[in-house]
């Protein structure tokens, strides 16, 4: 019998929701790490009982937690994120040089092949790797020291490395995205990096088609087709058919193409999901209606999914890491809101229901499909 485990990070702790494969009744455990900001919780694809959590606080800094028993118990592991070599500077909000300074871990990405290998995307933007189950962390400095690094500038939420995609067909290929530098790719396991932003257009920067400087909010891929990438940019939904070398806009008939998360159906590589948000100054759904949009054509043609979602007076946001899918036959789709609801659909988005409500603001949602 299959089961589903939903890992939820919030502003004030982590929550773990479990259900059988019917996905009708949910048990909620938590808050874990009560009172701390949990930017991300993610399980290992190799051993689903191994879960990593990024726990942080403006007062007390960064902590990393690890569980070997599916979240029943936790142990603190390594939290020393020291930049490798000369720190250097990036641009500050006012355009002046600003020294790189570690603030927090935004995203943890466990390896698809080794339970003890895990990557961390941090603010100020850098990529770290652990090969001992998060006991110690070592920067992959080739990214931060890319020649464009001194021109990177933080987005409103800080200069965060928020997306890490590991190519399941090529262990040396890694994609990452940084707000507001853009997307980058490594083809040598993180040693060297190249910007992959050709085709992006951002009116908010002096040169709208610059090599770097784009505020990429999220990138997603389907495991079976890792050369096809989908991106939710600050504005614009984009697609690449060549591993990020070139991007084309696929916003199509979306009512607004601003948003944060984007994800891909577990079994249909051309079926993708976004949550349109009104604008960069009004971070809530258009017209107070919470709508997920689905494209079954890999973009351009979108349909609104509303059944079970609030269609009046809804002014929540859905953050970049707060959407995920399960891999049951009828693909489940999940997302969390800044209003503390986690919504789920057990039928690829046709019908939705809250599986928990009134949590603290949701920062991240990840899903484990358990056999």
């Amino acid at each position: 019998m299959s089961a589903i485990r939903v890992l939820v990070g919030t502003r004030k702790g982590a929550f773990i929701l479990t259900s059988d494969g019917k996905r009708e009744r949910w048990d909620v455990s938590g808050p874990h790490f009560a009172g701390w900001e949990i930017y991300h919780v993610k399980g290992s694809p190799v051993d689903p009982n191994r879960i990593y959590a990024s726990q942080s606080s403006s007062w007390f800094g960064q902590v990393v937690q690890r569980s070997n028993d599916a979240g029943k118990t936790w142990e603190t592991v390594g939290n020393k994120f020291a930049y490798d070599g000369t720190t250097g500077t990036h641009q500050w909000y006012d355009g002046t040089p600003h020294p790189w300074a570690f603030a927090r871990v935004w995203h943890l990405e466990p390896s698809v092949t080794d339970v003890d290998v895990v990557y961390a995307g941090v603010e100020d933007a850098a990529l770290f790797r652990s090969t001992d189950g998060a006991q110690s962390w070592h920067e992959l400095p080739g990214l931060r020291t890319h020649e464009s690094g001194p021109r990177w500038q933080p987005g409103a939420g800080g200069m965060c490395l928020h997306t890490i995609l590991l190519d399941p067909s090529n262990p040396r290929r890694i994609f990452i995205a940084i707000s507001a530098a853009g997307a980058f790719r490594s083809d040598d396991a993180g040693e060297t990096w190249r910007p992959i932003n050709h085709g992006l257009r951002s009116e908010q920067i002096p040169d709208p088609t610059a090599e770097v400087g784009h505020c990429v909010h999220r990138i997603a891929m389907h495991r079976a087709r890792p050369h096809v990438l989908f991106m939710q940019k600050h504005w614009d939904v984009m697609r690449s058919n060549d591993s990020g070398d070139n991007w084309i806009e696929v916003s199509g008939n979306l009512p607004t193409d601003f948003g944060f998360p984007i994800d891909v159906h577990a079994h249909e590589p051309e079926t993708i999901y976004v949550v349109p948000i009104k604008s960069d100054s009004e971070h809530y759904p258009l017209d107070g209606k919470l709508r997920v949009y689905r494209s079954r054509a890999g973009g351009n043609e979108w349909e609104a999914l509303t059944n079970g979602l609030p269609q009046r007076d809804c002014y929540v946001n859905v953050l970049r890491d707060a959407m995920a899918v399960d891999s049951l036959d009828a693909c489940g789709v999940y997302f969390g809101t800044t209003g503390g609801q986690v919504y789920a659909s057990a039928d690829t988005g046709d019908h939705w229901a809250p599986i928990v409500r009134d949590l603290p603001p949701v920062l991240s949602v990840e899903v484990q499909t358990l056999e």
Binding site: F60, G61, V63, T76, A82, F102
Partner: protein
């Protein structure tokens, strides 16, 4: 024994009660007290002082004997009442926010 009072977030992280007692070898200073604290409770490394710079985190304060010692030299001797265990050394989360 040096008495150290921790804020709620760190007590939960370290699985301890409000106050812990520490053996401190040598001169009793902020640095040696925090070194001893982190040796006993390694999960607190990085939560009071930055892991790399060893500087006090901006929103952490150190109080003792009704004085704010946060800006004192970390190698300065702590008050005698702290050294003798009469008064605790308080690690405090600064008031911040609305």
């Amino acid at each position: 024994m040096i008495r150290v009072v921790l804020p709620a977030h760190l007590r939960k992280l370290a699985h301890v009660d409000r106050e812990v007692s520490l053996d401190v070898v040598g001169p009793v200073t902020q640095r040696t007290v925090l070194d001893a604290l982190e040796a006993c409770y390694p999960m607190l490394c990085g939560t009071i002082r930055d892991q790399v710079t060893q500087r006090r985190r901006p929103f952490v304060r150190f109080f003792a004997c009704e004085e704010d010692l946060s800006h004192d030299n970390p190698d300065a001797p702590l008050p005698e009442q702290v050294v003798s265990g009469v008064e605790p050394f308080l690690v405090v989360g600064a008031m911040a926010g609305g």
